[in-house]
Subunit: 335 residues, 2 copies
DNA sequence: CTGAAAGCGCTAACAT
DNA sequence: ATGTTAGCGCTTTCAG
């Protein structure tokens, strides 16, 4: 451990005050008035000695770990996860909390790392981000009063302490944007075509319905699962389309990027001849050529909100058990 | 913090021994003999009370944070990073250490999160995994005796406390494997063709040289940077090749997967007509069809070794300043 | 407005 | 072989 053995006692001595006063000053304890000059003396002494409070000691006294555990599935998409972590981080920093990574390898509840970490006071609470949490794990957490929250875009059964999302408004917004430009013939490309449990496809359908637009077969392209051959599907679609769409909503940014490339290569003008918008979040959307308009999930906010929620729970405050965050439509150059 | 206020004192009382004895037993302190029956009594009491040692208190007493900081660039490839983390984790667990994620957002040295974390005793050391560490940061760490190690596959200037890798042996092994099957006409596909600073391309060249094989133009395909159009490049290559290669080494797994797909679709028999091997590590290699043979980086070992190295440094032991780990060739179905 | 002192839960001399 | 005790660095009543 850090050899800088300068402690608050040293600072106290240097400033000619007591250790208590140092604590009062450095923590800005409210309800305690400190004479400006003593305060300054303490601050100066701290700076002079290059004092850093020992967080372990503080933890011990406060009976708080000052850290939260993050658990996620290993094969999570990096961009999404990192964005969520950024949000969490920003909720953590003002509280001087850190984050501890937990690895769960599908063990039974009691030996799961996050449980061990909680039991040994390494973490004060747990955030599951994009993790598949077995029901019995949740039950165990609830039963043992362990603070936790689940962050997920898409969740089957309604759970407690959940941050989830809704995209329907944002898809509507995308349509609004298109309609403003007089675009009504909007296609949907994606593997979810025809699947009424697919959030993206159903959002599209609902938006079309909402605006009184009818969907014909010529507006739907069911793309292959692997997405490898997709150009051939584009070929077939555009060759055979009786009346071509004026815009297409792509189920994923990947499909959108492929379509963009395909269209540009064939000389279609984007967005004047064909507008493109994706449903999905990618760090490449703003920098693609042309920059991709997209309905995007609130990754950062999911992290931030989830973490705030966790602190609420840890503080014993009552919270909304489930928060739903809206996706947003960000128009860029392709619409 | 955990409300389970059962402490070692409680266990002591329950077992009818002193707190010290509890500590001796639970930590298996060597050099201290405990009568088997007292030992059992302690263990039983601990279990009965569901005792979990408070790690914060232990930390405090030991003057160790019992955690190390991990810093990485945000846009790191997830699979690689996670694999390295697994290795680190496995070095951590037996020491009862955890890992704390640090976010560095390109600040100046003193305010970098890992420095703050070290100063406040949150972490005992730092691992930089796939992170670009500015020279002045390194200098600062060295100067202040902060234990750290750098993990990277590919590093420009020789730094201290470095885990790096070498692929040349593994590429040689891949050639050996090919030669055993009588395959000598081995092509290289990749963006690095012609670039004598590209490790993968130069490894290929050296291997060809080593085995006395000569490289003609017909063995080299420089693939496009975006890798989007790659099928056309394949087309052009295979259409024009005077004499076709019997095997191709792909610079990346991505290129290999595309080539595999391309070849299979065109009815080429893999590996009897065309063998394929990649240089790169992907979780899809074992499950692709056919399963991709590949020269792979020792991600897990990089993490594990790096972490062991860090503990050596933290313990004041002298270590090799730089460790180089070998890549390995894993033959699967494509060769 | 500031100081003295207790104590968080643990470990490690030092005693016995 | 086990118990006694001091103390890690901090916060926080309680006194003054």
């Amino acid at each position: 451990m850090n050899e800088s053995k300068v402690s608050s006692k040293d600072v106290a001595r240097e400033a000619g005050v007591s250790q208590a006063t140092v604590s009062y000053v450095l923590n800005n304890v409210k309800g305690v008035k400190i004479k400006p000059e003593t305060k300054e003396a303490v601050l100066n002494a701290a700076k002079k000695l290059n004092y850093h409070p020992n967080l372990i000691a503080r933890s011990m006294r406060l009976k708080k770990a000052m850290s939260i555990g993050i658990v996620s599935d290993k094969d999570i998409s990096n961009y999404n996860f990192m964005k969520v972590l950024e949000g969490i981080k920003d909720a953590l920093v003002p509280r001087n909390y850190s984050m501890t990574l937990c690895f769960d390898r599908g063990q039974d509840v009691e030996s799961a790392e996050h449980i061990k970490y909680y039991s040994s006071n390494r973490v004060d609470g747990i955030i599951f981000a994009f993790a598949n949490v077995p029901d019995e794990h949740c039950a165990y957490l609830v039963e043992n009063n362990i603070p936790f929250v689940l962050i997920h875009t898409n969740v089957k059964n309604e759970m407690i302490n959940l941050v989830k999302t809704d995209m329907s408004e944002a898809v509507l917004a995308a349509f609004g944007h298109l309609l403003e430009k007089g675009i009504e013939r909007v296609a949907f490309f994606g593997g979810g075509v025809g699947n009424d449990f697919d959030r993206r496809y159903t959002s599209y359908k609902k938006a079309m319905e909402y605006y009184g637009l009818s969907i014909d077969e010529g507006l739907l392209l069911k793309t292959p699962a692997g997405e490898e051959d997709i150009e051939r599907f584009f070929d077939e679609y555009f060759d055979n389309a009786a009346v071509k769409p004026r815009a297409v909503i792509c189920e994923t940014t990947n499909i959108a990027f492929r379509l963009l490339k395909y269209a540009v290569e064939r000389g279609m003008k984007i967005p004047s001849e064909l507008a493109v918008a994706a449903i999905g979040t990618s760090k490449f959307s703003p920098v693609s050529y042309p920059a991709l308009s997209a309905v995007e999930s609130p990754l950062y906010d999911m992290g931030y909100t989830g973490c705030e929620m966790l602190f609420d729970i840890m503080n014993g405050n009552t919270t909304n058990n489930v928060v739903v965050l809206e996706w947003t439509f960000t128009p860029r150059e392709t619409t």
